[in-house]
Protein backbone atom coordinates (compact mmCIF):
# COMPACT_ATOMS: atom_id res chain seq x y z
CA UNK A 1 0.00 0.00 0.00
CA UNK A 2 1.16 3.51 -0.77
CA UNK A 3 2.09 5.87 2.07
CA UNK A 4 -0.27 8.47 0.70
CA UNK A 5 -2.57 8.57 -2.30
CA UNK A 6 -4.49 11.38 -3.93
CA UNK A 7 -7.51 10.25 -5.91
CA UNK A 8 -8.95 12.72 -8.43
CA UNK A 9 -8.31 15.56 -6.01
CA UNK A 10 -9.57 19.06 -6.81
CA UNK A 11 -8.98 22.11 -4.61
CA UNK A 12 -10.81 25.44 -4.74
CA UNK A 13 -9.40 28.35 -2.75
CA UNK A 14 -11.26 31.66 -2.57
CA UNK A 15 -13.42 30.72 -5.57
CA UNK A 16 -10.49 29.84 -7.83
CA UNK A 17 -9.65 26.34 -9.03
CA UNK A 18 -6.11 25.71 -7.81
CA UNK A 19 -5.88 21.97 -8.47
CA UNK A 20 -8.03 19.67 -10.56
CA UNK A 21 -8.08 15.95 -11.19
CA UNK A 22 -4.82 15.15 -9.42
CA UNK A 23 -4.18 11.45 -8.92
CA UNK A 24 -0.86 10.49 -7.37
CA UNK A 25 0.69 7.78 -5.20
CA UNK A 26 3.70 8.20 -2.94
CA UNK A 27 5.72 5.20 -1.81
CA UNK A 28 8.51 4.40 0.60
CA UNK A 29 12.11 4.93 -0.52
CA UNK A 30 11.15 7.14 -3.47
CA UNK A 31 12.25 10.72 -4.12
CA UNK A 32 9.59 12.62 -6.03
CA UNK A 33 10.02 16.18 -7.24
CA UNK A 34 7.17 18.49 -8.10
CA UNK A 35 8.00 21.22 -10.59
CA UNK A 36 5.75 23.86 -12.06
CA UNK A 37 5.58 27.61 -12.68
CA UNK A 38 4.55 30.11 -9.98
CA UNK A 39 0.91 29.71 -9.00
CA UNK A 40 0.72 26.18 -10.39
CA UNK A 41 -0.50 24.79 -7.04
CA UNK A 42 2.70 23.10 -5.81
CA UNK A 43 2.47 24.38 -2.23
CA UNK A 44 -1.29 23.82 -2.20
CA UNK A 45 -0.68 20.22 -3.21
CA UNK A 46 1.67 19.70 -0.22
CA UNK A 47 -0.76 21.47 2.13
CA UNK A 48 -3.54 19.18 0.88
CA UNK A 49 -1.31 16.18 1.63
CA UNK A 50 -0.75 17.26 5.27
CA UNK A 51 -4.48 17.97 5.74
CA UNK A 52 -4.26 21.76 6.02
CA UNK A 53 -6.43 22.18 2.91
CA UNK A 54 -9.55 20.09 2.37
CA UNK A 55 -10.09 18.89 -1.20
CA UNK A 56 -13.31 20.13 -2.84
CA UNK A 57 -13.53 16.84 -4.75
CA UNK A 58 -11.73 13.51 -4.67
CA UNK A 59 -9.97 12.18 -1.60
CA UNK A 60 -6.64 11.91 0.18
CA UNK A 61 -5.84 8.47 1.60
CA UNK A 62 -3.11 8.24 4.23
CA UNK A 63 -1.64 4.97 5.45
CA UNK A 64 -2.87 4.29 9.01
CA UNK A 65 -0.45 5.85 11.52
CA UNK A 66 1.45 7.74 8.82
CA UNK A 67 4.08 10.07 10.27
CA UNK A 68 4.70 13.15 8.17
CA UNK A 69 7.76 15.39 8.40
CA UNK A 70 6.96 18.78 6.89
CA UNK A 71 9.31 21.63 6.06
CA UNK A 72 7.18 24.63 5.05
CA UNK A 73 8.17 27.18 2.45
CA UNK A 74 8.36 29.92 5.04
CA UNK A 75 7.75 30.18 8.75
CA UNK A 76 7.29 33.50 10.49
CA UNK A 77 7.78 33.41 14.25
CA UNK A 78 6.13 36.35 15.98
CA UNK A 79 8.77 38.39 17.85
CA UNK A 80 6.57 38.35 20.96
CA UNK A 81 7.00 34.56 21.16
CA UNK A 82 10.31 33.60 22.84
CA UNK A 83 11.51 30.29 21.42
CA UNK A 84 14.90 28.63 21.65
CA UNK A 85 15.97 26.23 18.93
CA UNK A 86 15.96 23.32 21.40
CA UNK A 87 12.41 24.13 22.54
CA UNK A 88 11.24 24.40 18.92
CA UNK A 89 12.53 20.89 18.22
CA UNK A 90 10.46 19.59 21.16
CA UNK A 91 7.17 20.73 19.64
CA UNK A 92 4.64 19.22 19.82
CA UNK A 93 6.29 16.07 21.23
CA UNK A 94 8.81 16.39 24.07
CA UNK A 95 12.24 15.08 23.01
CA UNK A 96 15.19 14.22 25.23
CA UNK A 97 18.17 16.56 25.33
CA UNK A 98 20.41 13.92 23.73
CA UNK A 99 17.93 13.34 20.90
CA UNK A 100 17.71 17.10 20.22
CA UNK A 101 21.49 17.48 20.25
CA UNK A 102 21.88 14.55 17.84
CA UNK A 103 19.28 16.00 15.44
CA UNK A 104 21.01 19.39 15.47
CA UNK A 105 24.41 17.81 14.86
CA UNK A 106 22.97 15.79 11.97
CA UNK A 107 21.58 18.96 10.41
CA UNK A 108 24.98 20.64 10.78
CA UNK A 109 23.89 23.21 13.39
CA UNK A 110 25.12 21.53 16.58
CA UNK A 111 25.92 24.74 18.47
CA UNK A 112 22.59 26.53 17.99
CA UNK A 113 20.42 24.80 20.65
CA UNK A 114 20.21 27.77 23.02
CA UNK A 115 19.76 30.42 20.32
CA UNK A 116 16.48 32.23 19.79
CA UNK A 117 14.73 31.16 16.58
CA UNK A 118 14.26 34.81 15.62
CA UNK A 119 18.05 35.33 15.62
CA UNK A 120 18.87 32.59 13.07
CA UNK A 121 20.04 33.30 9.54
CA UNK A 122 17.93 32.01 6.65
CA UNK A 123 20.17 29.00 6.10
CA UNK A 124 20.37 28.09 9.79
CA UNK A 125 16.59 28.38 10.01
CA UNK A 126 16.08 25.93 7.14
CA UNK A 127 18.46 23.42 8.74
CA UNK A 128 16.62 23.69 12.06
CA UNK A 129 13.30 23.11 10.26
CA UNK A 130 14.77 20.00 8.66
CA UNK A 131 16.13 18.78 12.01
CA UNK A 132 12.64 19.13 13.51
CA UNK A 133 11.04 17.26 10.61
CA UNK A 134 13.57 14.42 11.04
CA UNK A 135 12.84 14.08 14.78
CA UNK A 136 9.36 12.90 13.75
CA UNK A 137 11.11 9.84 12.20
CA UNK A 138 8.82 10.43 9.25
CA UNK A 139 7.47 7.84 6.85
CA UNK A 140 6.96 10.65 4.38
CA UNK A 141 9.09 13.80 4.28
CA UNK A 142 7.61 16.85 2.51
CA UNK A 143 10.00 19.66 1.57
CA UNK A 144 8.57 22.90 0.19
CA UNK A 145 11.39 24.98 -1.30
CA UNK A 146 13.57 23.61 1.47
CA UNK A 147 16.82 25.08 0.14
CA UNK A 148 15.54 28.65 0.27
CA UNK A 149 18.21 30.76 1.97
CA UNK A 150 20.98 28.20 1.47
CA UNK A 151 24.01 29.04 -0.65
CA UNK A 152 25.06 26.67 -3.44
CA UNK A 153 27.38 24.41 -1.40
CA UNK A 154 24.75 24.48 1.35
CA UNK A 155 21.98 23.36 -0.95
CA UNK A 156 24.22 20.70 -2.56
CA UNK A 157 24.96 19.34 0.93
CA UNK A 158 21.24 19.51 1.69
CA UNK A 159 20.30 17.32 -1.29
CA UNK A 160 23.12 14.95 -0.40
CA UNK A 161 21.58 14.65 3.06
CA UNK A 162 18.12 14.04 1.59
CA UNK A 163 19.56 11.21 -0.50
CA UNK A 164 21.11 9.72 2.68
CA UNK A 165 17.80 9.99 4.52
CA UNK A 166 16.06 7.93 1.93
CA UNK A 167 18.58 5.17 2.64
CA UNK A 168 18.77 5.45 6.45
CA UNK A 169 15.09 6.14 7.20
CA UNK A 170 13.69 4.46 4.13
CA UNK A 171 11.10 7.22 3.98
CA UNK A 172 9.37 8.61 0.94
CA UNK A 173 10.46 12.13 0.04
CA UNK A 174 8.45 14.74 -1.86
CA UNK A 175 10.20 17.97 -2.84
CA UNK A 176 9.02 21.20 -4.38
CA UNK A 177 11.82 23.30 -5.78
CA UNK A 178 12.77 25.94 -8.28
CA UNK A 179 16.30 24.60 -8.64
CA UNK A 180 15.23 22.47 -11.54
CA UNK A 181 18.59 21.13 -12.63
CA UNK A 182 19.81 19.93 -9.21
CA UNK A 183 16.47 18.64 -8.04
CA UNK A 184 15.51 16.73 -11.14
CA UNK A 185 18.83 14.94 -11.25
CA UNK A 186 18.34 13.71 -7.68
CA UNK A 187 14.79 12.42 -8.25
CA UNK A 188 13.34 9.07 -9.13
CA UNK A 189 10.19 10.65 -10.48
CA UNK A 190 9.28 14.15 -11.55
CA UNK A 191 5.76 15.54 -11.58
CA UNK A 192 5.17 18.57 -13.73
CA UNK A 193 2.24 20.49 -12.29
CA UNK A 194 0.22 23.38 -13.62
CA UNK A 195 -3.15 23.16 -11.88
CA UNK A 196 -3.32 19.61 -13.16
CA UNK A 197 -0.60 17.03 -13.83
CA UNK A 198 0.93 17.97 -17.18
CA UNK A 199 3.28 15.05 -17.29
CA UNK A 200 5.10 12.73 -14.93
CA UNK A 201 7.83 10.14 -15.10
CA UNK A 202 11.57 9.71 -14.89
CA UNK A 203 13.51 13.00 -15.01
CA UNK A 204 14.83 12.61 -18.56
CA UNK A 205 11.41 11.58 -19.85
CA UNK A 206 9.76 14.63 -18.28
CA UNK A 207 12.52 16.99 -19.43
CA UNK A 208 11.93 16.02 -23.05
CA UNK A 209 8.13 15.96 -22.82
CA UNK A 210 6.41 18.63 -24.93
CA UNK A 211 4.18 19.64 -21.97
CA UNK A 212 7.24 20.36 -19.87
CA UNK A 213 8.90 22.31 -22.67
CA UNK A 214 5.75 24.32 -23.17
CA UNK A 215 5.92 25.40 -19.53
CA UNK A 216 9.62 25.97 -19.08
CA UNK A 217 10.71 26.53 -22.67
CA UNK A 218 13.72 25.01 -24.35
CA UNK A 219 15.77 27.92 -23.05
CA UNK A 220 16.31 26.13 -19.78
CA UNK A 221 18.14 23.63 -21.87
CA UNK A 222 15.93 21.11 -20.48
CA UNK A 223 16.92 21.45 -16.88
CA UNK A 224 18.57 18.08 -17.12
CA UNK A 225 20.87 18.95 -20.00
CA UNK A 226 22.11 21.90 -17.98
CA UNK A 227 22.90 19.56 -15.12
CA UNK A 228 24.80 17.15 -17.36
CA UNK A 229 26.84 20.01 -18.75
CA UNK A 230 27.96 21.21 -15.35
CA UNK A 231 30.92 18.87 -15.13
CA UNK A 232 32.43 19.90 -18.47
CA UNK A 233 31.42 23.52 -18.91
CA UNK A 234 31.97 26.34 -16.49
CA UNK A 235 31.27 29.09 -19.03
CA UNK A 236 27.83 29.89 -20.37
CA UNK A 237 28.30 30.24 -24.13
CA UNK A 238 25.94 27.29 -24.67
CA UNK A 239 23.16 29.03 -22.90
CA UNK A 240 23.49 32.29 -24.80
CA UNK A 241 23.28 30.30 -28.02
CA UNK A 242 20.19 28.58 -26.78
CA UNK A 243 18.64 31.87 -25.80
CA UNK A 244 19.38 33.22 -29.26
CA UNK A 245 17.98 30.20 -31.07
Amino acid sequence: MSLLSLENVAVRLGGADVLRDVTLNFDRGEIVTIVGPNGSGKSTLLRTMIGAVAPSAGRVVRMAGLRIGYVPQSLHIDPTLPMTVARFLSLPVRRGAAEVAAALAQAGVATLGTRQMARLSGGQFQRVLLARALLEKPDLLLLDEATRGLDQPGSAAFYHQVEELRQTLGCGIVMVSHELHVVMAASDRVICLNGHICCEGKPDVVASAPEYRALFGTGTGGALALYRHEHTHSHDCDHSQEAAS
Binding site: I50, A52, G69, Y70, L75, D78, T80, P82, E136
Partner: protein
Protein backbone atom coordinates in the same frame (compact mmCIF):
# COMPACT_ATOMS: atom_id res chain seq x y z
CA UNK B 1 -12.59 32.86 59.65
CA UNK B 2 -9.86 34.39 57.56
CA UNK B 3 -12.12 34.84 54.51
CA UNK B 4 -14.20 37.23 56.56
CA UNK B 5 -11.77 40.08 56.02
CA UNK B 6 -12.72 41.94 52.85
CA UNK B 7 -9.06 42.72 52.17
CA UNK B 8 -8.07 39.04 52.27
CA UNK B 9 -10.96 38.18 49.96
CA UNK B 10 -9.93 40.96 47.58
CA UNK B 11 -6.33 39.75 47.57
CA UNK B 12 -7.38 36.17 46.86
CA UNK B 13 -9.71 37.31 44.07
CA UNK B 14 -7.03 39.48 42.46
CA UNK B 15 -4.34 36.79 42.59
CA UNK B 16 -6.75 34.15 41.26
CA UNK B 17 -7.65 36.27 38.24
CA UNK B 18 -3.99 37.17 37.62
CA UNK B 19 -2.83 33.53 37.71
CA UNK B 20 -5.35 32.50 35.04
CA UNK B 21 -5.18 35.66 32.94
CA UNK B 22 -1.38 35.76 32.58
CA UNK B 23 -0.69 32.46 30.75
CA UNK B 24 -3.81 32.96 28.63
CA UNK B 25 -2.62 36.52 27.98
CA UNK B 26 0.62 35.10 26.56
CA UNK B 27 -1.38 33.32 23.85
CA UNK B 28 -3.40 36.49 23.28
CA UNK B 29 -0.12 38.37 22.70
CA UNK B 30 1.56 35.65 20.58
CA UNK B 31 -1.49 35.28 18.35
CA UNK B 32 -2.02 39.05 18.06
CA UNK B 33 -5.56 38.86 19.34
CA UNK B 34 -5.35 41.55 22.04
CA UNK B 35 -8.62 43.11 20.90
CA UNK B 36 -10.26 39.71 20.90
CA UNK B 37 -10.06 39.88 24.70
CA UNK B 38 -11.60 43.35 24.69
CA UNK B 39 -14.45 42.30 22.42
CA UNK B 40 -15.25 39.35 24.67
CA UNK B 41 -15.06 41.51 27.79
CA UNK B 42 -17.27 44.26 26.37
CA UNK B 43 -19.82 41.66 25.36
CA UNK B 44 -19.89 40.50 28.97
CA UNK B 45 -21.60 43.80 29.91
CA UNK B 46 -24.53 42.72 27.76
CA UNK B 47 -24.44 39.46 29.69
CA UNK B 48 -24.51 41.34 33.00
CA UNK B 49 -27.51 43.41 31.87
CA UNK B 50 -29.36 40.28 30.77
CA UNK B 51 -28.62 38.45 34.01
CA UNK B 52 -29.84 41.41 36.08
CA UNK B 53 -32.99 41.57 33.95
CA UNK B 54 -33.75 37.86 34.38
CA UNK B 55 -32.33 37.65 37.93
CA UNK B 56 -29.77 35.02 37.00
CA UNK B 57 -26.24 34.65 38.30
CA UNK B 58 -24.10 37.40 36.78
CA UNK B 59 -21.29 34.90 36.27
CA UNK B 60 -23.47 32.62 34.15
CA UNK B 61 -24.90 35.49 32.07
CA UNK B 62 -21.47 36.99 31.40
CA UNK B 63 -20.04 33.56 30.55
CA UNK B 64 -22.78 32.72 28.07
CA UNK B 65 -22.63 36.05 26.23
CA UNK B 66 -18.79 36.06 26.26
CA UNK B 67 -18.79 32.55 24.75
CA UNK B 68 -21.31 33.60 22.10
CA UNK B 69 -19.20 36.65 21.25
CA UNK B 70 -15.96 34.68 21.05
CA UNK B 71 -17.65 32.10 18.83
CA UNK B 72 -19.06 34.83 16.58
CA UNK B 73 -15.64 36.48 16.15
CA UNK B 74 -13.99 33.13 15.40
CA UNK B 75 -16.51 32.17 12.74
CA UNK B 76 -16.67 35.62 11.08
CA UNK B 77 -12.87 35.93 10.95
CA UNK B 78 -12.80 32.87 8.68
CA UNK B 79 -15.03 34.65 6.16
CA UNK B 80 -12.63 37.27 4.96
CA UNK B 81 -13.41 40.26 7.18
CA UNK B 82 -10.30 42.15 8.33
CA UNK B 83 -9.82 41.18 11.95
CA UNK B 84 -9.32 44.68 13.39
CA UNK B 85 -12.42 46.03 11.64
CA UNK B 86 -14.49 43.08 12.76
CA UNK B 87 -13.36 43.41 16.38
CA UNK B 88 -13.89 47.18 16.30
CA UNK B 89 -17.46 46.71 15.14
CA UNK B 90 -18.31 43.86 17.48
CA UNK B 91 -16.55 45.09 20.64
CA UNK B 92 -18.11 48.54 20.60
CA UNK B 93 -21.52 47.33 19.44
CA UNK B 94 -21.63 44.78 22.24
CA UNK B 95 -20.73 47.43 24.80
CA UNK B 96 -23.31 49.86 23.39
CA UNK B 97 -26.06 47.26 23.28
CA UNK B 98 -25.16 46.20 26.81
CA UNK B 99 -25.38 49.77 28.13
CA UNK B 100 -28.66 50.41 26.31
CA UNK B 101 -30.11 47.12 27.56
CA UNK B 102 -29.09 48.04 31.11
CA UNK B 103 -30.88 51.40 30.84
CA UNK B 104 -34.19 49.57 30.51
CA UNK B 105 -33.62 48.12 33.96
CA UNK B 106 -34.61 50.41 36.79
CA UNK B 107 -32.37 50.88 39.79
CA UNK B 108 -29.25 49.10 38.52
CA UNK B 109 -27.32 52.10 37.19
CA UNK B 110 -24.91 52.09 40.12
CA UNK B 111 -24.44 48.33 39.95
CA UNK B 112 -23.50 48.61 36.31
CA UNK B 113 -20.61 50.95 37.16
CA UNK B 114 -19.23 48.19 39.34
CA UNK B 115 -19.16 45.86 36.35
CA UNK B 116 -17.52 48.38 34.05
CA UNK B 117 -14.70 49.22 36.47
CA UNK B 118 -14.80 46.31 38.88
CA UNK B 119 -15.39 46.33 42.61
CA UNK B 120 -12.83 44.01 44.08
CA UNK B 121 -13.47 45.16 47.64
CA UNK B 122 -17.06 43.91 47.40
CA UNK B 123 -16.27 40.29 46.41
CA UNK B 124 -18.05 37.72 48.54
CA UNK B 125 -16.80 34.32 49.68
CA UNK B 126 -18.82 32.75 46.87
CA UNK B 127 -17.17 35.11 44.37
CA UNK B 128 -13.73 34.00 45.57
CA UNK B 129 -14.72 30.35 45.13
CA UNK B 130 -16.07 31.02 41.61
CA UNK B 131 -12.90 32.93 40.66
CA UNK B 132 -10.56 30.18 41.91
CA UNK B 133 -12.75 27.51 40.33
CA UNK B 134 -12.65 29.33 36.99
CA UNK B 135 -8.91 29.96 37.28
CA UNK B 136 -8.25 26.28 38.05
CA UNK B 137 -10.37 25.27 35.06
CA UNK B 138 -8.51 27.62 32.71
CA UNK B 139 -5.07 26.54 33.97
CA UNK B 140 -6.01 22.87 33.67
CA UNK B 141 -7.28 23.44 30.11
CA UNK B 142 -4.12 25.33 29.11
CA UNK B 143 -1.70 22.80 30.60
CA UNK B 144 -3.59 19.88 29.06
CA UNK B 145 -3.46 21.41 25.55
CA UNK B 146 -0.17 23.31 26.02
CA UNK B 147 2.00 21.64 23.35
CA UNK B 148 -0.79 21.52 20.79
CA UNK B 149 -1.74 25.16 21.47
CA UNK B 150 1.85 26.25 21.13
CA UNK B 151 2.36 24.36 17.86
CA UNK B 152 -0.86 25.76 16.39
CA UNK B 153 0.16 29.26 17.50
CA UNK B 154 3.58 28.88 15.87
CA UNK B 155 2.29 27.74 12.50
CA UNK B 156 -1.00 26.13 11.48
CA UNK B 157 0.62 24.00 8.75
CA UNK B 158 3.17 22.53 11.18
CA UNK B 159 0.24 21.72 13.45
CA UNK B 160 -1.70 19.96 10.68
CA UNK B 161 1.40 17.96 9.68
CA UNK B 162 1.70 16.74 13.30
CA UNK B 163 -1.96 15.72 13.37
CA UNK B 164 -3.16 18.72 15.42
CA UNK B 165 -6.29 20.56 14.30
CA UNK B 166 -5.59 24.31 14.83
CA UNK B 167 -9.33 25.12 14.76
CA UNK B 168 -9.89 22.91 17.79
CA UNK B 169 -7.03 24.65 19.64
CA UNK B 170 -8.53 28.03 18.75
CA UNK B 171 -11.77 26.83 20.31
CA UNK B 172 -9.93 25.88 23.52
CA UNK B 173 -8.48 29.40 23.75
CA UNK B 174 -11.87 30.95 23.03
CA UNK B 175 -13.53 29.01 25.83
CA UNK B 176 -10.68 29.81 28.25
CA UNK B 177 -10.97 33.49 27.37
CA UNK B 178 -14.71 33.54 28.03
CA UNK B 179 -14.20 31.88 31.42
CA UNK B 180 -11.50 34.37 32.44
CA UNK B 181 -13.68 37.30 31.37
CA UNK B 182 -16.65 35.98 33.31
CA UNK B 183 -14.69 35.49 36.53
CA UNK B 184 -12.63 38.68 36.20
CA UNK B 185 -15.49 41.08 35.51
CA UNK B 186 -16.10 41.68 39.21
CA UNK B 187 -12.40 42.22 39.99
CA UNK B 188 -11.14 44.65 37.35
CA UNK B 189 -14.32 45.31 35.37
CA UNK B 190 -15.13 44.81 31.70
CA UNK B 191 -13.08 47.80 30.55
CA UNK B 192 -9.81 46.63 32.12
CA UNK B 193 -9.88 42.84 31.67
CA UNK B 194 -7.94 43.27 28.43
CA UNK B 195 -5.18 44.93 30.42
CA UNK B 196 -4.91 42.02 32.87
CA UNK B 197 -4.48 39.70 29.90
CA UNK B 198 -2.00 41.68 27.83
CA UNK B 199 0.05 43.85 30.20
CA UNK B 200 1.67 41.14 32.40
CA UNK B 201 2.45 39.02 29.32
CA UNK B 202 4.02 42.00 27.55
CA UNK B 203 6.00 42.85 30.69
CA UNK B 204 7.30 39.25 30.88
CA UNK B 205 8.47 39.11 27.26
CA UNK B 206 11.92 40.78 27.64
CA UNK B 207 12.77 38.50 30.58
CA UNK B 208 11.82 35.20 28.93
CA UNK B 209 13.72 32.79 26.67
CA UNK B 210 11.06 30.11 26.27
CA UNK B 211 7.24 30.18 26.06
CA UNK B 212 6.95 28.40 29.42
CA UNK B 213 9.17 30.88 31.25
CA UNK B 214 7.19 33.77 29.74
CA UNK B 215 3.92 32.32 31.05
CA UNK B 216 5.35 31.80 34.56
CA UNK B 217 6.95 35.25 34.73
CA UNK B 218 3.68 36.79 33.47
CA UNK B 219 1.77 35.00 36.24
CA UNK B 220 4.23 36.30 38.87
CA UNK B 221 4.00 39.87 37.52
CA UNK B 222 0.20 39.63 37.35
CA UNK B 223 -0.11 38.37 40.92
CA UNK B 224 2.36 40.98 42.21
CA UNK B 225 0.40 43.71 40.39
CA UNK B 226 -2.85 42.54 41.97
CA UNK B 227 -1.37 42.59 45.49
CA UNK B 228 0.62 45.80 44.92
CA UNK B 229 -2.38 47.51 43.33
CA UNK B 230 -4.63 46.48 46.19
CA UNK B 231 -2.17 47.81 48.78
CA UNK B 232 -1.68 51.08 46.88
CA UNK B 233 -5.43 51.56 46.42
CA UNK B 234 -5.98 51.02 50.15
CA UNK B 235 -3.16 53.39 51.06
CA UNK B 236 -4.01 56.21 48.63
CA UNK B 237 -7.78 55.65 48.50
CA UNK B 238 -7.81 55.18 44.71
CA UNK B 239 -10.13 52.93 42.64
CA UNK B 240 -8.76 49.40 43.01
CA UNK B 241 -9.14 47.90 39.49
CA UNK B 242 -7.41 50.80 37.71
CA UNK B 243 -4.70 50.89 40.40
CA UNK B 244 -3.89 47.19 39.76
CA UNK B 245 -3.56 47.90 36.03
CA UNK B 246 -1.34 50.93 36.78
CA UNK B 247 1.07 48.75 38.79
CA UNK B 248 1.18 46.21 35.94
CA UNK B 249 1.88 49.03 33.47
CA UNK B 250 4.79 50.21 35.65
CA UNK B 251 6.17 46.64 35.59
CA UNK B 252 5.92 46.73 31.79
CA UNK B 253 7.83 50.01 31.63
CA UNK B 254 10.57 48.65 33.91
CA UNK B 255 11.10 45.39 31.98
CA UNK B 256 10.91 47.21 28.64
CA UNK B 257 13.78 49.50 29.71
CA UNK B 258 15.69 46.61 31.29
CA UNK B 259 15.18 44.47 28.15
CA UNK B 260 16.31 47.36 25.93
CA UNK B 261 19.47 47.81 28.01
CA UNK B 262 20.22 44.08 27.90
CA UNK B 263 19.76 43.93 24.14
CA UNK B 264 22.04 46.90 23.62
CA UNK B 265 24.77 45.33 25.83
Amino acid sequence: MILDSFLIRAALAGVGVALAAAPLGCFVVWRRMAYFGDATAHAAILGVALSLAFSMSVFVGALVVALAMAGLVSSLSNRGYAMDTLLGVLAHSALAFGLVAASFLTGVRLDLMAYLFGDILAVSRTDVMVIWGGAALVLALLSWRWSALLTATLNTDLAYASGIDPRREQLVLTVALAVVVAVAIKVVGALLIGAMLVVPAAAARPLARTPESMAIIAAVIGAASALGGLAAAFRFDTPTGPTIVCVAAVCFAVTAVFGGVRRAA
